[in-house]
């Protein structure tokens, strides 16, 4: 399948960048002419993954978060990577309502929402090295707008 467009963005793990990150990815994915509903799903999933990198990956210290995204005719692939703490037990982490930080008022619903709102979710993580979250959203219209 041909990649129609590609982007990569590095930013520091500040909570102010949560809204920045989801707006950037939504703007990029807009080239596929998604519905407002699809865009809202993408924004929510990106927000969850970036928040996790900030709170759990870097535990509110400063680190780099990298978002990369590729557009295909009928889908957008989004990767969110951190070089933080990593996840010991990914299966447990993905369970609804499970959180390692209840004292920070986390709900444990982040991965569950990413899974529900996107079409595919893959989590790769190595303790002490970091985490890569890859998500796919199918965009059914699948035509890139002509730019002149």
């Amino acid at each position: 399948m041909t990649v129609l467009n590609e982007m990569q963005l590095d930013f520091v793990s500040k909570s102010e960048n949560e809204s920045f990150a989801r707006v950037v990815v939504a703007a990029f994915a807009s080239q596929l002419d998604p519905t407002l509903d699809e865009l809202a799903d993408i924004k929510t999933a990106v927000s969850e993954a970036v928040t996790n990198a900030i709170i759990h990956g870097y535990e509110n210290t400063v680190g780099i978060i990298r978002i990369s995204s590729k557009l295909y005719e009928d889908k957008v692939v989004i990767t969110i990577q951190d070089w933080g703490k990593g996840i010991e037990d990914i299966e447990k982490a993905r369970q609804p309502l499970w959180t390692s930080k209840p004292e920070l008022e986390r709900s444990g619903m982040g991965f569950t929402i990413m899974e529900d709102f996107m079409d595919e979710l893959k989590v790769d993580s190595t303790p002490g090295e970091g985490t890569v979250v890859t998500m796919v959203k199918n965009i059914n219209k699948g035509t890139v707008r002509q730019t002149t």
Binding site: D37, D41, K43, T44, S47, E105, R106, M109
Partner: protein, 112 residues
């Protein structure tokens, strides 16, 4: 994120939320609401989501946090005007077993 707190009754407030509720905004909201709750002995909170354009799971954590806080004084929480996407997040999180989703403000004031 903007928040306006309106007193509805001696122990009941309405919290008008505006904008996007993410982790960053939740930290600010939590502080403003808790300050108010402690100062004014609030027992019932009605969150009005009419002008909320975005919420992720950090919003769920913020609501559960306030629920736990009010539980200590026998209080209750209600919500109105949830957009479908936000309602789905509430549902997935099981929030409706802790708080009530009202059709409108009048119903909330009567039943909360």
């Amino acid at each position: 994120m903007d928040v306006v707190i309106i007193k509805l009754d001696h122990d009941m407030i309405k919290v008008n939320l505006k904008g996007e509720i993410d982790h960053h905004a939740s930290l600010i909201l939590r502080e403003e609401i808790d300050n108010y709750i402690e100062k004014h002995r609030v027992k019932k909170i009605l969150f009005n989501f009419k002008d909320v354009s975005f919420m992720d799971s950090s919003g769920v954590g913020m609501i559960i946090g306030r629920y736990k806080k009010l539980q200590n004084v026998g209080g209750k929480i209600g919500v109105v005007n949830l957009a479908p996407k936000i309602e789905r997040i509430f549902q997935m999180s099981g929030l409706f077993s802790l708080i009530s989703n009202f059709n409108d403000e009048k119903e909330a004031i009567d039943k909360l």
